[in-house]
Symmetry: C2
Subunit: 403 residues, 2 copies
Amino acid sequence: MNACGIVVEYNPFHNGHKYHVSKSREQSGADCMIAVMSGHFLQRGEPAIIDKWHRTKAALQSGVDLVLELPYVYAVQHSDYFSKGAVLSLSALGIDSLCFGSENGKIPPFMKAYDDLKENKTSYEVKIRQALDLGHSYPDAARIANEAIGISTASFDFSAPNNILGFSYIKQILTYDESIKPLTIKRQESEFHDEHLSGRMASATSIRKEILKEDGLSEHARQALPQETIDQLTHYRERADLWHNWNLYFPLLHYKLSVSSLKELHAIHGVDEGLEYRLKQAIKTSVSFFDFMEKVKTKRYTWTRIQRVCTHILTNFTKVEADLYLDQNTVPYVRVLGMNQTGQDYLGQRKKKMDVPLITQPQKANHLMLDIEERASAAYYNPLPNDRRNNHYHREFGAPVRI
Amino acid sequence: MNACGIVVEYNPFHNGHKYHVSKSREQSGADCMIAVMSGHFLQRGEPAIIDKWHRTKAALQSGVDLVLELPYVYAVQHSDYFSKGAVLSLSALGIDSLCFGSENGKIPPFMKAYDDLKENKTSYEVKIRQALDLGHSYPDAARIANEAIGISTASFDFSAPNNILGFSYIKQILTYDESIKPLTIKRQESEFHDEHLSGRMASATSIRKEILKEDGLSEHARQALPQETIDQLTHYRERADLWHNWNLYFPLLHYKLSVSSLKELHAIHGVDEGLEYRLKQAIKTSVSFFDFMEKVKTKRYTWTRIQRVCTHILTNFTKVEADLYLDQNTVPYVRVLGMNQTGQDYLGQRKKKMDVPLITQPQKANHLMLDIEERASAAYYNPLPNDRRNNHYHREFGAPVRI
């Protein structure tokens, strides 16, 4: 069987994602579409609007054959670690190609950028360091360095968010598994971060904004979503009584920051350069998550970086834990969140050739990275009503979704 | 000036407390009545129904001249540490007498019990150890040992809760400051733990139960409370939007137990003998605080002991912190929560003779024990609405209440 991998968050699965899945299948000629998906917390340090199980189901109902969990350790990270965890997971399953959406829409410029970067590694690193020293954020510093060594050009905007992610996949593929063929699809209509919702191809950001603003599925939101997602959003809401967003976690964040010592905060992954003082100071006068973020963020500490740190504080994810995994050259396991018959057949075929364990029964497995997943789930479901919290939490130990 | 000390929690201040204050003043002939009061969390490991500032004000309006804070470190402890912190605080202020309520109502039996205990120290300790080894809780083991060496007699029920506390005061006085004259007043009408509210002399337990059950001040509750307390309960409710009880903290407890490692839990004061495993296991299936407590408590781990541990988990109070203070023979400071003119005059007179710092401006002081108080306040006020939490929390650093 021919398999094509995609890297997703599905927050929530929308028409643009459906387009991406079907175009990827077409371009790769794959029999099996495998998505590696962030769990309860996402790359930008946010809770997913509905849990990973409901997002998995919507994905399976809309053209994906197999959904793997991108472990928390890699998911809530900047693009290099995020894509490393994703590519290593997909590589462990022996995919033939990986297809990502990009603003650019063609592979050669990515390959050329990779070569250019390799050639100019030293001067690139000097430029980044200089920019960081001037107080720029890491993404800004990277953009400045790219421009300086001529990677970003008029025809290839290296700083466009999906180009950045795409380039990360290319880097990981060329570093860890050159047998994977990179493919890309030009993103349609909506721009990343376009917060204005219009038509059938809206961005996830604009859809979430619309849903959370209205606290219900408006006609606008429905237009941009497949029926399968509407069903899963509705079903989750009925069971959990809420859709997730950072505001729900503000009291927990306030609590954790207030009762933790500076030393305890410093032990959290991402709390560097004295950030613990800044966080502890800001929380004392903050009345909402937004208010808190506005107080903490600076040119150097971007909103996204601080949000990731807040997520790690919430899930108690430590530097020691991050150091155990992030710089390994393999993922310790691959965990299945859901599959259809095609996905199951593919797994049956691949299983014996895999170098790392395949986890479909987490209750029987035993791994620190699964404990971290369990903690992330406990934190994620905490805002649910008392009588519903544990039922959802126990789903963590259950079998994959099957359709 | 002649000063009489009392040890209180005032949760809330009721007619029985008013009787105790006025009788204590009468019996001691004191010009100044000094109460040392638990802060936001109480001896039995519970949050106070309203905050320490409102309880202080009600006390000052009802006959107390000076209110000191019994530091968290001593307050949320079994009777020996609780009374040690209380007696050492009052001793630092040079009180002449200490007057406690007791079931017994006379001092000589307490003094005799102290002598008997001293004489039979070794066999007493053997008896306690034997009873603990048989799986009895500490209070039970103490009761068994008392009976075995003949301290508890038909005329002196040593296991009555206020006799136990009273005996603790006596022990601390005879150990640390024999210049304090012990006095006692027989408790009127209501029994400790009597949950049935009737008449003007109801127990604090029955009053709280009535208030929280009705979520308002019923006629029954009003009868048992001075107008000053009714005013403070009402005022707090208007400002904080709630009255405190353990149920409000259940989501935080769930969160903390779920995301903390076994090692982190073991570092908390009171988490001994593998209790961390039991707590982590029980929380996974608990839907309320009561449900959780029922799952954790055993003959050996009494309800109160577990509640104290839960409080320490909530406030992140560690073994290391407890060890710094509990076995010291002096309190590191005395902090004033409130005073009237008489209290202020007394302080003016005593201040220069004191061996430990007197704190009336915590924002200018710097002490780890004040940091612990700050954390306890942060945890205590966490369930308040986002826009009210910080205002109350900042009260921690403000000046004492003055009337």
